[in-house]
Symmetry: C2
Subunit: 173 residues, 2 copies
DNA sequence: TATTGTTATACTCTATAACTATA
DNA sequence: TATAGTTATAGAGTATAACAATA
């Protein structure tokens, strides 16, 4: 298991052949300070604090891992939900993902510009959303990178803990 | 246990005496649509998706509950870390909470303006941070509201699950 | 040269409001 | 009158770069 810093910085923790971590001998110019640990105080009793910290670390790894395809978490979620529910309206997609319709409109313009998503007119005021052929092709590559990200996560928190966390949180998604 | 929507909207779910939820008879003007559930697709396998969803719901409850004192999660975390580590520098606080020094500088200006935090000059380029008397007084009220928020969270996810989630994530904070 | 704190800029995300065109 | 989609604006949060003062 890696430590959180390694995941955030995209650098594997130095480890001996026997699995013990190797500390830096001395502080070097480009490196951050030894980072003396402060007391958390009452913060230690707040679920939101830990949720936020882990969520930020996870998103940073996602963004770094998917940088080659320039896809951010929100875009990825929209592509997957369209894949799983082709032909639905923007309103339906937005409600499912809790994305404001204003924000979703701009995201879809971007996805349409990249030729990954197509909008067909519905009853006159609605648009039905589909992946294009290009979108399906791109999504295959994107999902492969997302799977790599998820593997890295399993390395960070441990496979069993990752599964446990997902099962604990799934009903609130 | 409440459902996520109840927490997000600050409205308790209508429940019969036998614990069954009561659905709306018909769609009313001000109310959102019935919200047909879409398939999550591959999103269902991503820890980050569930982490983000729960984290947003938790922060929204925090912000709403602490609205009377106008304190946001990041400000609250800074107040607590100063309380637990009086006299430390901005750099130390920022590293502990993963807040950029540029952002922390502006946050501290705001907290100083409200007379909650005091900066005493350190070795010439550092500032030592302390709560003022007003800060201690305000923090008592703030912590009481934060405790109410945490109680609401326990109601949302269940007390045992809340504790389990914290224990699973604590080492990554 | 490096660090601390500061200011400034840019981009993402969230939250609104206002507008159109349709129903 | 309500809904779907769009555009615009404002605020928080994040990520940089540049700068002055100090070590």
């Amino acid at each position: 298991m890696m430590d959180a810093r390694a995941l955030r910085k995209g650098r594997p923790a130095a480890v001996t052949r026997k699995g013990r971590k190797v500390g830096r001998a001395a502080t070097k110019p480009g490196m951050p300070k030894p980072a003396e640990k402060l007391a958390l105080g009452a913060l230690d009793g707040h679920l939101g604090y830990f949720l936020r910290r882990l969520q930020v670390a996870v998103f940073q790894d996602f963004i770094r891992t998917l940088a080659p395809v320039d896809v951010r978490p929100a875009q990825y979620s929209v592509l997957l939900i369209i894949e799983a529910n082709p032909g639905r309206s923007q309103a339906a997609i937005g409600q499912a993902l809790h994305i404001e319709r204003a924000r979703l409109a701009r995201m879809l313009h971007e996805l349409e510009r990249r030729r990954w998503v197509e909008r067909r007119d519905g009853d006159g005021r609605t648009h039905s959303l589909f992946l294009t052929g290009d979108g399906v092709t791109a999504l295959a590559r994107i999902k492969a990178l997302a799977a790599r990200h998820e593997q890295q996560l399993a390395g960070l928190v441990g496979p069993k803990r990752r599964k446990l966390l997902m099962d604990l949180m799934r009903e609130f998604g």
